[in-house]
Symmetry: C2
Subunit: 741 residues, 2 copies
């Protein structure tokens, strides 16, 4: 034996060899398996739990303030230079984006600068990712803007001119903007609280519902929203800002109806900006390797357009809309307006989740690339703290941005020291030279936002790809996109998540079912309709359905069991009754025969028995081959319509069962038992067996004896003790038992 | 060989014997399996489809009008007498229930009689069930009543008294009731249309979402609603009728606040009725066998209380509320008010589904008991036609009732001839003697409704039962009940269905994962933590997670793969880096060692490598036993932290995968490959393989060579070609290859 083993080891192909008695669940329970004592494990676990508590305390502190893990050993000479360069590069991108996204958030531009400073600074201390660049994020800014406009619409701030003439009311923009800032800030506080709570409660997993096609569909929709919202700035037309269901349509309509009032100077400036930024993007991409740092196109556009605007007095002479007042210096901390709580709480959930999912997906991507790991829950807490604390300094909610993160990483950012530097750049502008951006035309910011969207629009290419790979995921993409475009981002996201869940239900409740056959000599069972080699044993039907069995599909399971196997207990019963009645009729000639029963029976029978025969004939011609005498099958099977004596349910794919499913299986077993067909269950997993025990499945006719560990065990058992003594030719006859175990 | 086989057959225990080369997916694809040509099957299918079209046409007509199948052969002498007796018994139950449920539906009592006649008559022609008694149903009546009250509330019909004094406005009940009838009738028309459409579109399956715990929780809530709604009639207090969210609370509050105005005569009459009906119910149950027909308690209560009310002039002298005007004769058909369509369409979906699900569950129960089958879709069409056609004769929506069906069946009803008789009883009352019920006190009807609820309230006993068997189903029950009580029946049902779906998601996305070991000599792989016999092969980890892999759990899958197997590529990578750095440090003594990398590495490593060792040590002490020299494992494993060379993913329970899941698996395979651990996949089903092909899974490092048909194949392959050449002692050494197939 040892020699053989050695020879086998030297051989190139190992052998699969099992020889053992057929096991049933009863045998397995009584002899084969013994449950492990878990008491030791429990004690060990407790010991583990209380052992090293000081180290644990330290680990907890370190996980809460990740900066303590890396800053003390920060290799100044190796990292500092590249971190500073990267931080400066990121800062000059952070700055124009902050100004631009403030427009999306419907607050004055300076709040975008605040939002690009405080949270970025805080993230240095709490964040676990070393590479992402937190700060303003287009999609979130747009969502915040939607809420701000909803809560503080223009017509809430109409003021009648002092002389009460018939002039139309004008909007008190100062009061309006102040209110919008209040709304945005309170929303940010709530977002922060929600994110911290989710992090503490270990709810980081919620982002798993945001599957990739959903996120891509959603962000595509968001970029459409952003694009439409920026059109008016690009064209320089004055329209109301819309929010809520169908807002994108109203916005587009408003812009198109006012297109005649386009300000040509604005449009030209904007278009020049767009073309320039697009070229810079292209050059940066093309000469990535050769450029030491990417060309900071955005800051160039900001500076040049500010210069042009100031020099030509665009605001006064050409009526070009400019950024306007940018106060210098920071604001003292102030408590947000908590009275807005009930109006904002639902929105803040959406914003919090969108923000976190963007952050974590980017953080994970870069952690993977650089070989470290980020902790989703700590990341949630970090982001929450950034939003919560910063909101007291009048910021709006932030996350991280793909474009800035790429800049930060590609310019050599190694740690969040780069983020710190970027925030300092913004701080410098806020406290010292913010006012120089006052003549900056809004159209330049619109150009920056629009060019940043280009990458998003490339996501439309997902559609043909998904069409080829997965129709269900394409459906998720399309639903997420369409719902978010039409219903707005908040409801759209909700609808998309619900739809994505429904697809999971759909997958579990519309299983493919098949009848399996044995590939001779292998112990493998495959679909007989699909593979030529798969052959059925006579009298045994193996039914496979690739799903768990629960309320939403148990009926379907039973129906397709009866259909696929061609063995329907009702029809067999009816056929028997009909036969009995016919015999009775033939025997005595009373004048009032029990017609109705016969009728009921006959109709169902004549149809069904024949289809039954089809199946029966098919499988007689199959594996059994010549061993079966060529009798008239019609006759034979009308006499014995239940030639199938055993049905094996392959429960390989069944991972859970509920009481409805268990009842359905018991019921169908009973029905089959009544017509002399035995139902056995194969390949039921151990955890499912435990579940069945809890559901009190093994009562009455059901015993653990009907459970078999593999399909082959079940088939051998049924074949051996089957009522049909015909030998099966296609399968190698089993050799004598030789107890191995 | 033949002899051996014969000997084996005679033996009591068959043998499981497989001996074959180890298969991988590549081998299976190239040599073992060939796909069947499906062209013949398609032609056959087409032939089948067009073959017997005249018989098919006949079958279609018969399925649409099931009466044609059974009436021609109706065995008059055997069935007619018992059908007539049963019909009369059912009719006398139908009558008081019709009057009572009309109160629930917020329409005058005579409409309850109409609803107990037309649909019952029509069902005789279209229905497939022979035993159920269709007609008014408490839950549906209550839902209709809710809608009617919402659309025609009392205060819509306030009329100021002719002399405009300071008297409070009174309600024009006649106009109000007329409007409520309009609403109920239009709702019924819509319910009918929806049911017909669902039937024609083969949407009968929608009821599968109404799992049993959901339906029982929902009906329990409905009976609470009904109970509370009847309190005011029982007490004779006058309160408004509420509908919508929290209506049950408002109703209860209104009754309790007015409890001082209880009409004592009404209350006494009602309580006497309740006690009497309860006793009759008890007697009927107790002496079921001895009584030829059940005592018709309800009609007795109706007749006696009508008599008492008329004799003592309860209405005038004691201010007892009575049924009031019951017009004699039927109404001419009239078109419903279609202008209500937009206001009722959502409600009608709920009512249609509740009605159908009640009908089909009862029909199936009795069909099973009597051995025939009902067609869910034809049943939907039948119910829809009953509701639709009847609604033109001013009925409200009906389904079937448990209590009446039991009466009909237990008194010997064999076919719907019994239903026909019952409807004729009602017709007789409507056209001839309806007016005699005018003095019937409403409290008697409330008593009838309340006693009928007793069975429903027994469903509270489900709670302890479900607690023992399935917590998830208990949760469904409780949510269905609580939501339906608090939010009203329509929203409650919606919430309950959504919740039931979420439980399915929950089950698929929170899988149990485990590491499997081989039960020696069996080819069976079970959880090593649970069974003593399950032993791991050295260097091979078998990971099992009982769920499919898709967006909502792929992260979890990967995480628990790394945790459970104790092999984390990141930590191995980090450990390697750390070692390399340490070696470099030892070799040269420069003044600026690359500290941070070392630090990052060390911290993760020291913790993780030790846990790694724990696992490694555990399984060395496991199956490998004495064959492994007793070296200091700490030292050994710090040198070779990746003693595991292969990981087998057991995909037995995986029934579907999406692109996110496929990407996650590819990604984790790559990560493991980078640290020299091979990942192979076992027991992937054929349909899943096809799915993986579509998802372009087999590109790059992934080839069909990593797929194995069974776990044992995968393990043998890995063991054979494993990088670790230690012999495995616990497993019988494989014998020489002997090609069998």
């Amino acid at each position: 034996m040892e020699q053989e083993a050695a020879r086998e080891d030297a051989d190139s192909q190992p052998t699969y060899r099992i020889e053992r008695p057929v096991y049933s669940e009863a045998l397995i329970r009584s002899k084969l398996l013994s449950r492990k004592e878990n008491s030791i494990t429990l004690r060990e676990r407790l010991a583990n739990h209380f052992r090293c508590s000081s180290a644990r305390a330290r680990a907890a502190v370190l996980s809460f303030l990740p900066i303590l893990t890396w800053l003390p050993s920060y290799p100044v000479r190796r990292f500092l230079f590249s971190d500073v360069v990267s931080g400066l590069s990121t800062g000059v991108v952070q700055l124009p984006q902050g100004l631009a996204y403030a427009m999306l958030a419907a607050v004055p531009p300076v709040y975008g600068l605040y939002s690009s400073f405080y949270p970025v600074l805080l993230y240095t201390f709490f964040g676990t990712s070393r590479h992402i660049s937190v700060g303003t994020f287009a999609v979130m800014s747009l969502m915040i803007g939607g809420v701000a406009v909803r809560e503080a619409p223009d017509d809430m701030f109409n003021v009648l001119p002092a002389n009460a003439s018939n002039m139309s009311a004008t909007v008190d923009t100062e009061a309006r903007d102040a209110r919008r800032v209040q709304v945005a800030v309170m929303l940010t506080t709530l977002v922060g609280i929600i994110q911290i709570l989710f992090g503490v409660l270990r709810f980081g997993f919620v982002t798993i519902y945001l599957t990739e096609p959903l996120v891509r569909g959603f962000t595509t929709a968001a970029s459409l929203h952003v694009f439409v919202s920026q059109l008016k700035y690009l064209l320089g037309v004055k329209t109301q800002r819309f929010c809520g269901v169908l807002s994108i349509v109203y916005s587009l309509k408003a812009v198109l109806w006012n297109i005649t009032s386009t300000n040509v100077a604005t449009l030209i400036l904007g278009l020049v900006g767009i073309v320039f930024l697009y070229l810079v993007k292209y050059v940066n991409e093309r000469f990535k390797k050769k450029l030491p740092v990417p060309i900071p196109g955005e800051i160039i556009v900001v500076m040049v357009s500010t210069g042009v605007s100031y020099g030509l007095s665009l605001s006064d002479d050409y009526m070009v809309d400019v950024v306007g007042k940018i106060p210098t210096g920071l604001l003292p901390p102030a408590a947000p307006d908590f009275s807005l709580f009930p109006r904002l709480i639902t929105d803040s959930f959406t914003v919090a989740i969108v923000g976190f999912s963007m952050d974590i997906s980017l953080a994970k991507t870069f952690a993977l690339k650089h070989g470290y790991s980020v902790d989703g829950n700590q990341e949630l807490i970090a982001l929450g703290l950034c939003n919560f604390i910063s909101s007291f300094f009048q910021t709006f909610a932030i996350s991280c941005s793909m474009s800035r993160t790429l800049v930060q990483e590609s310019t050599g950012g190694k740690t969040q020291i780069a983020g710190l530097m970027a925030s300092l750049v913004v701080l410098l502008v806020v406290v010292a030279i913010g006012f120089v951006f006052q003549p900056l035309p809004q159209t330049a910011l619109a150009a920056i936002i629009m060019v940043n969207l280009l990458g998003m629009f490339k996501q439309f290419r997902d559609i043909p790809n998904l069409w080829r790979t997965s129709k269900i995921e394409l459906a998720i993409w399309l639903v997420a996109c369409a719902a978010s475009v039409l219903l707005g981002l908040d409801y759209g996201l909700l609808v998309a998540v619900l739809f994505a869940m429904l697809t999971v239900i759909y997958r579990t409740q519309s299983p493919k079912s098949s009848v399996l056959g044995h590939v001779p000599g292998t112990g493998l069972y495959y679909d007989v309709d699909e593979y030529e080699e798969a052959a059925e044993y006579e009298g045994i039907k193996i039914f496979h359905s690739n799903s768990s069995i629960y309320f939403a599909n148990s009926d379907l399971y039973v129906t397709s069991l009866k259909e696929k196997t061609g063995v329907n207990p009702e029809h067999i019963q009816a056929a028997r009754k009909a036969r009995k009645k016919q015999e009775a009729k033939a025997n005595d000639n009373h004048s009032s025969p029990p017609q109705i029963c016969v009728k009921y029976g006959k109709q169902e029978v004549t149809r069904e028995v024949s289809s039954d025969n089809h199946v029966a004939v098919q499988h007689i011609n199959g594996p059994v081959g010549d061993s079966c005498p060529d009798v008239d099958s019609e006759v034979v099977h009308l006499k014995t319509p239940n030639a199938v004596h055993s049905i094996v349910l392959d429960w390989t794919p069944v991972t859970f069962i509920d009481s409805v499913g268990a009842k359905a299986i018991k019921q169908v077993s009973k029905e089959y038992a009544a017509v002399g067909v035995r139902v056995v269950i194969a390949a039921c997993s151990r955890s499912l067996l435990a579940e069945l025990d809890t559901l009190q499945f093994f009562t009455g006719v059901m015993t653990p004896d009907v459970m078999f560990p593999t399909v082959h065990d079940a088939v051998l058992h049924c074949h051996h003790s089957g009522s049909c003594p015909v030998a099966v030719a296609a399968v190698a006859a089993p050799p004598p038992v030789e107890e191995l175990s």
